[in-house]
Amino acid sequence: MKVLFFAALRETMGRSEIEIVLEAPTTVGALKSMIKLPNGETLNAVSRTQSIMAAVDQEMVDDLAMVSVASEVAFFPPVTGG
């Protein structure tokens, strides 16, 4: 499955996209614990101090949402368009 990062989080991650092979469906929250920043911290740890939003298959979701082995997941800061 594909994980995308946008804006400030893309810069923190140092990349816009990673591939993760899931053996079974999981939750957004669990996925956040699996993803590590370049400094070794997990995305889950980061999200305790800064607001990180998530989308699964291009729909906004919370940490309890399910992620399938073929989902497109994205993490990003609060939006600032317009």
Partner: protein, 152 residues
């Protein structure tokens, strides 16, 4: 109801949007347009320019849902959203929302609701260049409050 949703690097024309709404959505009596432009300062710092990025695919879908919601609340003839991405200078246009309706009150309300929802519910992000370098613009709680006020 006519609708058009565009995310593009290029600038837009209000006159072209007016002509498009008139041609595509019948002879509506009232047309409301909102344009957001890049300011030259923010949080007391000079802003030299803006970089706008979005989540391709998801953003278009969200804008479509926002227009759906406006069309559910008011009787609209047409609605257009054009949002620019990429590098912009102070004074440049960022976003255009254009709505046509039989009654002017509906055109004003729908246009403002689409803008308020767009601000908080569409995956765009702004990075501004300031004298010290760059900073990502932070979401404002006042925008959140304006968007949720439509549900009151």
């Amino acid at each position: 109801m006519y609708r058009s949703i565009l995310i593009q690097v290029e600038d837009f024309s209000l006159d072209a949007a007016l002509a498009e709404l008139k041609m595509q959505s019948g002879l509506a009596g009232g047309l409301c347009f909102f344009t957001g432009a890049v300011r030259n300062s923010n949080l007391d710092e000079a802003v030299g320019g803006l970089y706008l990025e979005h989540y391709p695919g998801m953003t278009e879908r969200q804008l479509d849902q926002i227009v759906d919601e406006a069309a559910r609340r008011w009787t609209l003839h047409g609605a257009m959203v054009v949002h620019r991405i990429g590098h912009l200078k102070p004074g440049d246009n960022i976003v255009l929302v254009a709505v046509s309706a039989s009654h002017r009150g509906e055109a004003f309300d729908a246009c403002e609701m689409i803008m308020d929802y767009l601000k908080t519910n569409a995956t765009f992000w702004k990075k501004e260049s300031i004298p010290d370098g760059y900073r990502w613009v932070e979401a404002r709680s006042s925008d959140e409050a304006k968007a949720t006020a439509w549900d009151a």
